[in-house]
Structures are given as C-alpha cells and as structure tokens.
Symmetry: C2
C-alpha cells in the first residue's frame, strides 16, 4: 500500500505524526507493508520550494494508492501569490476528487459537548456529500480588479449527475433518505441540479428524496439535525453547510472526511483547519487524523478489521478519560497517541 | 404617511391583517393618518393578474413612503413561468433595495427557546447587514439548459462600498465591532470585497474589524453567537447566514427586517417565509409583522414613541402568557392582535 502523506501546516504535522505512528503499529500487528512518503504541501510547500503544490507532490499523490492530508494554511502565507488554499484546489482538480464525504454523527456520550441542546442533537447521524471540483470554485471567468469582480458558478450536467448518483448509492446503504440542497428559486445552476436529482431519483425508487433551499437547510441543520440521512449539494453550499454541521457535534477535532475521484487515489483528511493558534504546543486532538486513517484503511484498502481495531483502541482511550484540551482534558497529542498505540500492541 | 401593503401568500394575509389593525389603532391614538393601500404581490399577484408583480404594484410601491411585505411563495406557484420569488427579486432591484438589515437578539427570557444551549446563546445581540441587489442573484450570464448551467457572481466596487459603509455606520451606533464575511481564499469577488472593507475601515478608526470566511462564520454563529456585533456580507452568503442566525433565537416568528435604498421607500418584512402548512388556521405568530411595523414607524417615519408603544404593548401581551403555537401556546393570531390592540387603546 503506497500512501502519500501531506502534513501541511499549523497542527498538521503533529496530528499527521500521530496518524502515521498508529498506521505503522497496525502494519506490524496485521503484517501489512504501508509505504508512506511525506511530501511538502500547502504553506510547507511554499517554504520549501516556493510552490504550495510542487511537482514531486503532484506526482507522488497521483501515483499513490491513497493520500493522507492533515491541514494547510495560516496567516503567514495569506498574501502569497499562490496560497496554500490554491494548492489544495489544484490538488483536488488534478486528481479529479469530485466527491467529498463528511460523516456527521453525535453519539449519546458526546451529545453534551454540542452547542445545541443535548436532547435536540442526540442521535444525529448523517452524511454530507459535497461536490468538490465544480461550481464557484473553478468556473471561468474568475477575475477582479479595482473596479469590479466576477466569479462563475458553472456546472455541466454530467458533473451533477455523478455526485448525485454517489449520494443515492450512499443513501441506499443507510436510511434511504436523500436531501438535495440548492437555491432553485434563484439560481439557474440549481434548476439544473434539481432537475437532475429528480431524474436520477426514478432509478432509486426506494430512496425518499426531498429538496431544501440552502437557507432553509442552514436552519434545519440546527433545528432538526436528527432528521437527515444523506445531504447532497454543490461545492460552495457544501463548504458552508458541512462546516456548520460539523460544529453541532461539539467535537470538530474528531471528524474525518474522504474525497474520491472516478478513478485514482482517494484523499482522507480531518474536517478542521490548521489551527495556527495552537500549533506546536502538542495539545491538538489527533482523533480526526486517526479516524481519517481508519477511513482510508476501510474505503481505499478494504482493511475493515484493521480500521475497526484502530477506531476501537482510540475510543477506548477516550472512554478511559484521556481527553485533549478541546474536549476539556489535559492529555497531549503524543500521550494520546501512545495510549492508543499501547492498546493496539 | 402613504404605505403600500403586500400581504402575499400563505400566512402573509393573516399576519398583515394583524399589523395593519394595530397600525390603525396607533393612528387613532397618536392622531396620524396612515394611508394604506393593499397591492397584489407574489402568488396572490399571479392568481389575480398572472404576474407576481403587476404594474400597479410596482407603481404603488415606488410612490409610497414605506412598504410592508408579509410573506410570499408556496408550492402552488413553484412551476410558474415567473414565480413569486422572481417578483420579489424584481421589486428589490426596481426599488434599489440594496441593504437588508436583520437584527438577531436573544433576550434572557426567551433564551430557553433556542435550539442552542441556553447559556451559550443568552445575550446574543447582533445585526446582519446583507447586500441585496447584487452577486449571484442578479449577475449575468445566468442561464441553463439540459447540458449545463451558469450563474454569475458579479460585484462592482461601488456596490460593495455602499453596503459596507452602511454596516460601518450601524456599527458606530452599537458595539463598534464589524465582522465582514467572505470567501477571499477562493473567490475573486471576495478579494475585492475584503480589500474594500479594509480601505473603508481606515475611515472608521473606532470600529474593530475582522474578516471571517463564510464557512468559519457558519460555525461561529453556532459556537459563539454572543461575540458578534455587526456582520456584513454579500447577497448569497447573507441569505444563508441570516437564516442560520435567525433560528438560534428560537423565535423565528418574532424577527422583523428592513431593506433600504439610496433614496425612495424602504421595505419592512418578517424574516420567515409564508409557511403554507399553517396558512388559514389563524395560528401564525404575528409578532414578526408587528415588529416590522414598529421598525417602519421608527426608521421611515421617525415615530419613535409610536414604535415603542407598539413594541411594549406586544411584549406585555407575551409576558402575560398569550403565546401562539410556535412558542408553545394556544393563542390565535387574531386573539393576540386583539390583546395588543386593547392595551394600545
Ligand atoms: C481551504 C478552503 C479552500 C477549503 C474549501 O473551501 O473547500 C476548506 O474550507 C474545505 O472545506 O476544505
Ligand atoms: C425568497 C428568496 C428569493 C429570498 C432570498 O433568497 O433572498 C428569501 O430567502 C429571503 O431571504 O428574503
């Protein structure tokens, strides 16, 4: 298994270290060879090579079986000609990572951490399927000067089709309920989006489909989070709504995500950012990275037993009261990792 | 005082009735003449004339001193060639209503109604200033066919300038803190937006300015709502974030908003929609409409005493336990209105 690891910036290197340590432990225990190569990316890429996504990083990622990304960005590179974020967008586009999958779940034991009233959020369990290589992020023309600015929200039907099918397929493995989010009362692209969803729906008669306007969806995620099963939406709306959804769990430091292409490697990464304010202090919660590793093992390598062992060990450590600062504890990143490692060994 | 009233659809006519009844009561009490003319608009406009915004409605609104709008839209008109929403967008554009102001406040006495944990939301008091006549809503090209779709997010610097100045002016009357929301790490329009905010900031040295990406803003509204004073953002982000913000109050049925032009009449309306599911049942909460009337009295007519009397009477009725169904009570729309009227008289 060839893996490209992109530690990136801020707390990125610290949590990546945790994820890779445990991957190595799993490799020994289950006798797999994980060939991990670390590549410069994001701000680290700029510092090392002047480019947030240098050629060797693109090549290494393209040839890998899977990619692990920790986090990128920070004030240091905000004014760079090509920012860490530009690098991330280029990576997504180059690898064709059109589908970003973010599970949002609130188990009873962590519901009290949620900013929402506990009873309202308890039992929340849904997946946000976000289109990742189209829409406002990439549409042309896209330019600005001192007088005016233009971005373009462009979608081909085929781009909508493939992400929506992916969402239906996921819904079929779960509660068979799909919520498509658009702004079809205002946007032309949303009219095509809605029409496409309705067409594909006829091929999935078992799936209950409803449509929500993005403003209504932003309300319902707070008011009635347990009502969702699978949400599918375009790139910009998905950015906003998946981040909104992530905070209702109260445990942003524990959420992994996966991004997939039609073919080629998938990319796994925490939902949260690089948190420059707590970088280098050995206090970041590595759970999101650990769970991203588990997601990779399961989805890219079909190593279900290994993924389950890792998840179980990590949750045992948490249940034993070893919590990082974000969850109100005092356990360090490395101490948490060592605890999980000890259980795995 | 000439007022154009647009009852619209769903619960619109019921809550408009409430607002107009109390306006009339105030007129008698304080000896003002409010000349109210009701115009067909939205679905009601389509039903009556085939057009959601017939010529007489445009004319009546343009010539009025202020406009009261209740709510529009519903499944019945979703497939209309020109929808109620199209009519609303045309009204905003025709009257140049570029600035939409939505106060979000959670008093201690209603904090328990919030979906957020009470302690977290208590004390929330901020204003969302949304740009209303630019961006993705109106940019050209905007079209779709069976193969592809395009929307355009276009802003002139002058459009950004005037809404941002408005937000700074509002911040100066309050906590002197402005949060500008954009997606400057991805969008060209956001880069111009951020630059413009930073330029204007030099003219308001007393105001503390910070910038948030829209995804981070959608998180912070839930995580730390009391940290905001004034939020300013472009049209589409404002649609999503102001609706998100409105539900954390737990009392969506009580929120008014005002939309303003460079010159000409302002428009006042509830934040919520037409709620077709509860229409005609005499159970809608008229508070949002009543508070919209108060906002009009204060902002368009400088009738501060009258506005305060109306707000005070309405809150006395609520404090006395007369609550509509959305707040867990059994008081009808008309009974609530009669109670307020009795106090005013
Ligand atoms: C860093 C930024 C470009 C990115 C995005 O908007 O897609 C991030 O917010 C995300 O959600 O992965
Ligand atoms: C009805 C719709 C077009 C409108 C909007 O998106 O502006 C509404 O959601 C609002 O916020 O006033």
């Amino acid at each position: 298994y060839t893996i490209a690891a992109l530690p990136g910036d801020g707390i990125g290197p610290e949590i990546m270290e945790s994820g890779l340590t445990l991957l190595e432990t799993l490799g020994k225990k289950f006798q797999h060879e994980f060939n991990v190569t670390v590549y410069p990316f994001g701000g680290a890429g700029i510092d090392e090579t002047g480019d947030p996504i240098p050629p060797q990083t693109i090549k290494g990622c393209s040839e890998a079986d899977a990619i692990l990304l920790a986090a990128i960005g920070g004030p240091k590179w905000e004014k760079a000609e090509k920012t860490p974020e530009d690098g991330l967008l280029q990576l997504r586009k180059t690898l064709g990572l059109f589908s970003n999958i973010r599970p949002i779940a609130v188990s009873d034991s962590i519901a009290h951490l949620s900013p929402l009233k506990t009873e309202r959020v308890k039992g929340t369990d849904f997946i946000v399927v976000r289109e990742l290589t189209g829409g406002l992020y990439f549409g042309q023309p896209k330019h600005w000067n001192d007088e005016e600015a233009t971005d373009t929200l462009f979608y081909k039907k085929s781009e909508i089709d493939r992400i929506v099918r992916q969402a239906f397929d996921i819904a079929m493995t779960r509660g068979k309920k799909l919520t498509s989010v658009d702004k079809a009362n205002v946007l032309a692209s949303s009219k095509l989006w809605r029409k496409t969803v309705n067409e594909i729906a006829t091929e999935y008669p078992e799936v209950t489909v409803d449509h929500l306007y993005v403003d209504a969806a932003s309300m319902k995620i707070i008011q009635d989070p347990t009502s969702f099963d699978v949400i599918v939406t375009e790139n910009m709306f998905g950015d906003i709504l998946s981040d909104e959804a992530s905070v209702i769990t109260g445990s942003l430091g524990m959420l992994p995500s996966g991004s997939h292409a039609v073919s080629g490697p998938s990319l796994y990464e925490p939902i949260h950012g690089s948190a420059p304010d707590i970088a280098g202090k050995n206090i970041a919660n590595p759970m999101s990275m650990i769970l991203s590793v588990a997601m990779m093992l399961r989805q890219s390598f079909q190593l279900h037993e290994e993924a389950a062992a890792l998840e179980k060990a990590a949750s045992e450590v948490m249940d034993a009261g070893f919590l990082t600062a974000d969850l109100g504890g005092t356990t360090t990143t490395t101490a948490f990792t060592e605890q999980v490692k000890a259980i795995l060994e």
